[in-house]
């Protein structure tokens, strides 16, 4: 048979495998899961898809037109003060990175203690969460921020007075407009007791505060908290990033000392995947809105701005500060520093249907790292002292990285970083961060409406 005859008589080749961009394998698996289980997917963590982020920004180091500072010698200060507007006792922190609110309940008592130890070692603050204040956490946190949440679990005036600052939580980046969630396997006897709930139920926290409904009410609520605590404590207002320009303005009007702004990359212990992935905006897009709002009110730096949601390293911190934030806050990254998703636990993650680097079933309570669990045996795996050391090490690295970038830009304080020090790699990032596209003077949308 000739080559031509062979070609003509051969069976047609196997069609090439072509994955649909619309119905990709992940989408197909999720449809199959939903058809099997009949309920939405609940998981921990923040958004997993690629969205414009700090990686899309670059610093313009000093050269002929700017004067750098010596990397290892010249001072580059990192101290910050939070709550200078009304509080008699503002917080003085040594570094511009804080630990975000995460509840006892979502996290083990050991994890909460470790976060407190790590933060204290680095002269920064940690934050309670939707479950009240534990003695372990208070005892090991030099500076502790006490959250006032819609659920008011464990809320009491004694802890309010024991706190160093108060954070009224309106929303969080992972789920702006949604309440907390803690599944039954994590409602242990102690967690149930602190929250006044029956043990083992799937707990759904309220998404609205029970005794105020809008900014005018919030103003009175904040005044109440100040009256109860003799106007000593700084009062933060935390919002998930959505209509940030207006939310910030209203929080300032309501009397906030500090705004905490959480972007959609911000983690959660348990929320519907559809909520995490489809509600809220990236922190990159939110910070310039918040800063513009504060500037319009003449309150930038008067009311401090803490930002969170996907902060991973000193570059992220430096870029957040350059955009106008006063501090950055970490949650997910702090858990990773504690040991979450550690490669040594890969086999155990695989036994749970996951793998190191992928584990996000923080809602499940079976965390082999002993962090997102209330199982005594698993929780005992986490040594709070060692965990605290790891968190402190990680914070130290972040601060050194932040200082490195600030010195390269010629800044003697990390707060002196400014938008003019940066350019964007993508058109999207340039538009959101309001800095020019690299190599151009183009800021898409500049001068347009917010």
């Amino acid at each position: 048979m000739s080559q031509l005859e062979e070609f003509l008589t051969a069976p047609p080749p196997r069609p090439s495998l072509r994955e649909s961009a619309t119905f990709d394998r992940r989408t197909i698996a999720e449809i199959q899961r939903a058809a099997r289980e009949g309920i939405y997917d609940i998981r921990g963590g923040g958004t997993k898809r690629r969205i414009p982020h700090f990686d899309d920004l670059l610093f313009l180091g000093a050269s002929v037109s700017r004067y750098p500072l010596e990397g290892y010698r010249e001072r580059c200060a990192t101290d910050i003060v939070l709550g200078t507007r009304f509080a008699k006792k503002p917080l003085h922190l040594d570094i511009p990175v804080t630990i975000a609110g995460m509840s006892f309940g979502a996290l083990s008592a050991q994890a909460k203690e470790a976060l407190g130890r790590g933060a204290t070692a680095m002269g920064t603050s940690t934050t309670t969460g939707d479950g009240g204040m534990t003695p372990e956490e208070r005892g090991h946190s030099k500076t502790l921020v006490y959250q006032v949440l819609p659920s008011r679990y464990g809320m009491n005036p004694d802890d309010l007075r024991r706190a160093d600052a108060i954070e009224v939580v309106v929303g969080q980046g992972a789920k702006p407009g949604g309440g907390g969630m803690l599944l039954g396997q994590k409602i242990s006897e102690r967690v149930a007791g602190m929250r006044d709930l029956p043990q083992g139920i799937d707990q759904r926290s309220a998404c609205r505060h029970p005794d105020w409904t809008g900014p005018d009410d919030l103003e009175i609520k904040i005044a109440e908290l100040r009256e109860i605590t003799e106007w000593e404590k700084p009062i933060f207002v935390k919002v998930g990033a959505t209509r940030t320009f207006f939310d910030v303005a209203l929080a300032v009007k309501a009397g906030a000392d500090v705004i905490v702004l959480d972007g959609m990359q911000g983690g959660t212990a348990a929320t519907q995947d559809v909520f995490i992935e489809h509600v809220g905006i990236p922190i990159l897009a939110a910070i310039p809105q918040a800063v513009a709002s504060l500037q319009e009110l003449g309150m930038h730096r008067e009311v401090q701005l803490i930002v969170s949601g996907g902060i991973r390293n000193g570059a992220d911190v430096a870029k957040a500060l350059a955009l106008g934030a006063d501090a950055a806050s970490i949650g997910t990254a702090a858990l990773i520093a504690l040991g979450d998703n550690s490669p040594e636990l890969d086999e155990e993650y695989r036994a749970l249907g996951s793998a190191a680097g992928y584990y996000d079933d923080w809602q499940d309570g079976r965390d082999p790292a002993g962090i997102s669990t209330q199982d005594d045996e698993l929780a005992a795996r986490l040594d709070p002292e060692l965990g605290g050391r790891r968190v402190a090490n990680y914070l130290r690295s972040m601060v050194l990285e932040t200082q490195t970038l600030a010195r390269a830009c010629g800044k003697s304080h990390v707060h002196n970083l400014e938008p003019e020090d940066m350019v964007a790699l993508t058109v999207e990032a340039a538009a959101m961060a309001r800095v020019p596209l690299a190599g151009t003077s183009w800021i898409p949308g500049a001068g347009g409406n917010l």
């Binding site: 289980e37 009949g38 309920i39 659920s151 008011r152 809320m155 009491n156 005036p157 309010l160 599944l183 039954g184 929250r195 006044d196 709930l197 029956p198 083992g200 139920i201 799937d202 759904r204 309220a206 029970p210 005794d211 105020w212 009410d217 009175i220 609520k221 005044a223 109440e224 009256e227 109860i228 605590t229 003799e230 106007w231």
Partner: protein
């Protein structure tokens, strides 16, 4: 009832009058926080001319009697601990919010979210309460001599609520283990809230609460009991329509 109408001031060394027409709210609360219950301190503070001011007598932490002689605004007696506060008038939203212990009595009407998230103590409302009375209750006992508005005891976790009049729509929506007693009509029950049998222990509970609240002439046998069906305690796809 109203400003200056409900309290007779007498020359009594154990009573101190703080006049909010001449004293700031900050000074009033600061004075109340400074009390320790020691001998020689006043046992009763009368707040004159409250004029609907917000945040009156918040964060008390001492067994003292406080009489607010008139109408109060938001969060009167908020986070009360140990003190017995009486409001001789109406009050705004969130009266006695997050109360820990002691008692708060409103001689008139209460606005929305009365007793919100309260964890202990007794709240008595002599007239009516608006919507969301007893929202997210965590242990406080609430007795309303009149009626309550919609969404009463929303998300109520523990504690008891006695309503001598009627209850608005959505009573006990998403309720946990709080126990509700209503003498009059209920416009509608919220998600997972059902009527339950009145046993002897429940009759005794209503009698006890009425007595503690100083309510007489009301028969415990006239009340009906409501509480959680516990169908939403754990996610169950077959109950998704209940939400």
């Amino acid at each position: 009832m109203g400003a200056g109408g409900g309290v007779t001031l007498v020359s009594d060394p154990t009573t101190e009058v703080v006049d909010l027409a001449a004293t700031s709210l900050r000074e009033l609360n600061s004075r109340l926080h400074a009390l320790t219950g020691a001998d020689g301190e006043p046992q009763r503070i009368v707040v004159a001319n409250p004029r609907g001011r917000h945040n009156i007598a918040v964060g008390l932490d001492v067994p003292v009697e406080v009489v607010v002689d008139g109408h109060a605004g938001y969060y009167c007696a908020g986070m009360n601990k140990l003190a017995d506060v009486r409001i001789v008038g109406n009050c705004g939203p969130g009266v006695a919010e997050n109360m820990m212990s002691g008692s708060v009595v409103v001689e008139g009407n209460a606005s929305q979210s009365a007793g919100a998230t309260g964890r202990g103590g007794l709240l008595v409302i002599r007239s009516n309460a608006a919507g969301r009375c007893g929202i997210s209750l965590k242990g406080t006992d609430v007795v309303v001599q009149g009626s309550i508005g919609p969404m009463g005891a929303f998300l109520a976790q523990t504690g008891r609520m006695v309503v001598c009049g009627d209850a608005g729509d959505g009573l006990g929506d998403s309720i946990y283990e709080a126990r509700l007693y209503v003498r009059g009509s209920v416009a509608g029950l919220g998600a997972d809230c059902v009527e339950k049998e009145m046993g002897e222990q429940h009759l005794a509970e209503v009698r006890e609460l009425l007595e503690r609240a100083g309510v007489s002439g009301v028969d415990a046998a006239d009340f009906r009991r409501y509480g959680s069906a516990r169908r939403l305690y754990n996610f169950d796809i077959d109950h998704a329509g209940e939400y």
